[in-house]
């Protein structure tokens, strides 16, 4: 007869956790050789910033942890391509963090990444941060990104334009672009964005649907 599964909550089960049993010459600890960060402040800031960016918390909470002196190092992180061995999520979050720095340098860098970022993740996140400034200057860039080959980039551009038209000037710039373009598909898409017809979250279902099982 098969053994039934038993939930363990509330039961007393005695387990001895595995502790290192094997004899290792010199024991289980080795001496570290560390270099003081005292004269390397930039490294200290970088290490601290890596931790901030890895935080699993909201944009607002991240914003509270960021300081003006972080901005140049954030720029460095944003430019560290995957071939430098950079952590893809730290780079992504560094690009997102630049939305909290409304400076010429950050706007220029985000623009550069939005146009020439080496993959769709970089371009779409750069567009997201640019549009978070909610100003009209990013409208031409966002419209251009609607033509990107990547669905992810196009989605960021759509969401970004939706953000930007919350600003009256942004809406006017978008309307002007819509009138000017001869591309029928683009005209239609811009019209939908202006009219707020882009895909929204659906109303929650009363009964969950079942995901399909992999074959």
């Amino acid at each position: 007869m098969a053994i039934p599964l038993t939930p363990i909550a509330g039961k007393e089960v005695k387990f001895i956790l595995n502790e290192p049993a094997k004899e290792i010459k010199g024991g289980l600890e080795r001496e570290s050789t560390l270099i003081s960060r005292e004269k390397y402040k930039q490294i200290l800031v970088r290490e601290h910033l890596n931790k901030i960016l890895l935080n699993h918390c909201s944009n607002e909470e991240i914003a509270k942890m960021l300081r003006p002196e972080h901005e140049p190092i954030l720029h460095k992180i944003c430019l560290e391509s995957v071939t430098t061995g950079s952590h893809p999520m730290i780079r992504k979050k560094a690009i997102l963090a630049l939305r909290h720095y409304f400076t010429k340098e950050s706007i220029n860098l985000l623009t550069e990444l939005a146009i020439g970022g080496e993959d769709e993740y970089i371009r779409s996140n750069a567009l997201g941060s640019l549009s978070a400034f909610k100003t009209a200057f990013s409208v031409p860039l966002l419209i251009e990104a609607l033509k990107d080959t990547s669905d992810m980039v196009k989605n960021s551009a759509r969401v970004g334009l939706k953000n930007v038209i919350l600003d009256t000037e942004g809406k006017n710039v978008l309307k002007a672009a819509m009138k000017k373009t001869k591309n029928i598909q683009l005209k239609k898409e811009l019209k939908e964005i202006i009219e707020g017809k882009i895909q929204k979250s659906k109303k929650p279902l009363s009964k969950p649907r079942h995901a399909k099982k992999d074959k």
């Binding site: 098969a2 053994i3 600890e29 970088r46 909201s58 944009n59 430098t84």
Partner: protein, 519 residues
């Protein structure tokens, strides 16, 4: 009672100095001002016309930074992507660790060694510090040194490990970081087998395992056959500068109360023929034990008692090598992994996803909790709708409300892997702490960003180690764990790839959760 049956599965053995599949790949990066035309075309797959345009541009003026090439009309989007990813200009702010390898080809146990770190740094940026964190059987430690001007100019850095930093035989992972004077950083990870100086040794581990920590084998109960299955990975490391011929027989023993206590079962497995292990090389197999009702192993697992497994082999010249490891049933929970917008998980990403789930499993198994059942589900692009791109926490809760998996046991936790988290800085979320015991309602599940990126060769990948940690972190919340500030702990608010420890209090908390079970 000797009733357990054994079978062997042979594993592809990775190179001694690139021993883990998640090791960094030494991508080909190039100096835009020096790379020959033929390399651009044949090695980096740049369109010939575009490659010629790059050569011509650099003849006019040295290319300062890779962004300059944005102005070259001849370049297609794809070419631009490659050049920006792999090309380094004269005044490029970035630098890269091109490779890390042992300086004298191999690392031998209990002997000082050095790592040779090759760096691509065309603008001769002022590199300040190299730091290597070492993961091995014991507690991780760090070796750092300041980088000299000569090393910057040569592009090679030597990092020495002294008498007090030697390692025992077995795998060791080195996570190497180099920092420059402006806060720039380049990272590289490599796993090397520390070869035995003695010079032949046998090493036991679970089927999947991390390099660091201590482990048990897991007695897996197969309800379909009513058998317990145990899998042990047997590796032999040959530190000899010549091949060693090994006998075909594997002697195995299961002991109660440690070796020399009372013998539960023992036997010999015949591999069917002698075999040879190359000089400075490794050999590895997975040995499966199937234990039916009535067998000693089955009964001991059923009584939830620990066993010590001893494996012994010998070379044909009579050298005997052996190792022991604990085997036990573990506390368990299950997960149903659902790819949200499944069409977007292409090629390698699918493999990476389940490699990441293996990482999650090893994190929990290092604390004697296993993920017993891993369901594989998907929601198509069309069905996923707006859940393809998560952009708020309320959207996560709506996802938990709207979707679940068919789970007959009722024990599995819904784990959704979303295509991308857009515009939000969090990258995962658990419905609540702890999560509900059912699969319905807006808190019933966890969701994680798939952590996608494009690697140096242009292949779409997931960050396997990070995603494995992230899923483990969010599932940890679901099992009742809150954030803590213990160094290296999985539940740090800012847990990274190397933060994978769970402490005893957390183990006790998980034990109290209603979806954690035992046989």
């Amino acid at each position: 009672m000797n009733q357990s049956i054994t079978k062997v599965e042979r594993k592809k053995v990775l190179p001694v100095n690139r021993y883990h599949k998640s090791d960094s790949v030494p991508f080909s990066v190039f100096d835009i001002n020096k790379v020959p035309l033929k390399d651009l075309v044949s090695k980096f797959k740049i369109n010939t016309g575009a490659a010629k345009a790059v050569i011509s541009a650099r003849r006019r003026n040295k290319i300062d930074v890779s962004t300059e090439i944005l102005n070259l009309k001849e370049l297609r989007h794809r070419d631009l992507e490659i050049l920006r990813r792999c090309g380094y200009g004269k005044n490029e702010l970035k630098f890269a660790i091109a490779d890390v390898q042992p300086d004298s080809n191999y690392i031998y146990s209990y002997k000082p060694f050095a790592l040779k770190i090759s760096v691509l740094n065309p603008s001769l940026r002022r590199l300040l510090l190299v730091s290597a964190k070492v993961f091995w059987k014991g507690k991780p430690f760090i070796v750092e040194k300041e980088i000299s001007q000569a090393e910057i100019e040569q592009g090679n850095i030597l990092l020495n490990f002294n008498e007090k930093q030697t390692l025992p035989p077995g795998p060791a992972a080195f996570h190497v970081d180099i920092f420059d004077s402006d806060g720039g950083q380049s990272s590289f990870k490599v796993t090397c087998v520390v070869l035995p100086s003695n010079p032949l040794s046998l090493y036991l581990a679970p089927e999947i395992y991390k390099v660091t920590g201590t482990y048990s084998l897991r007695g897996y109960y197969d309800s379909g056959t009513n058998n317990f299955v145990t899998v042990v990975k047997i590796s032999i490391f040959n530190g000899n500068p010549f091949s060693v011929a090994m006998s075909r027989y594997i002697k195995w023993e299961y002991w109660d109360g440690g070796v020399g206590g009372s013998l539960i079962e023992s036997n010999t497995h015949d591999l069917g023929g002698n075999f040879t292990i190359g000089a400075n090389n490794t050999w590895s197999i997975d040995l499966y034990f199937t234990s039916p009702p009535g067998s000693g192993i089955y009964n001991t697992y059923q009584n939830k008692e620990d066993m010590t497994v001893k494996i012994e082999m010998n070379s044909t010249d009579g050298t005997i090598i052996n190792d022991t490891i604990t085997a036990r049933v573990m506390l368990a929970f299950g997960v149903d992994i659902t790819r949200v917008a499944s069409d977007t998980f292409v090629g390698q990403e699918y493999t990476d996803l389940y490699d990441a789930v293996d990482v999650t499993k090893t994190i929990y198994e290092a604390r004697d909790i296993t993920i017993r059942d891993i369901g594989r589900y998907y929601i198509t692009d069309g069905d996923a709708g707006s859940y393809k791109y998560i952009n708020s926490d309320s959207e996560c809760h709506n996802l938990f409300n709207d979707w679940t998996c068919y789970d007959p046991t009722g024990f599995n936790i819904d784990v959704f892997i979303a295509h991308d988290f857009v515009g939000v800085s969090f990258d995962g979320l658990a419905g609540s702490i702890p999560g509900p015991l059912s699969d319905s309602g807006s808190n019933s599940g966890v969701v994680a960003d798939k952590t996608g990126y494009v690697d140096g060769s242009g292949t779409k990948r997931l960050s396997v180690d990070y995603l494995g940690m992230l899923v483990g972190h969010e599932v940890g919340h679901y099992l009742g764990l809150v954030h803590i500030s213990e160094t290296g702990n999985l539940m740090l608010a800012s847990s990274g790839t190397n933060d994978t420890n769970l402490n005893y209090d957390q183990y006790r908390t998980i034990m109290g959760y209603g979806r954690v079970f035992i046989f």
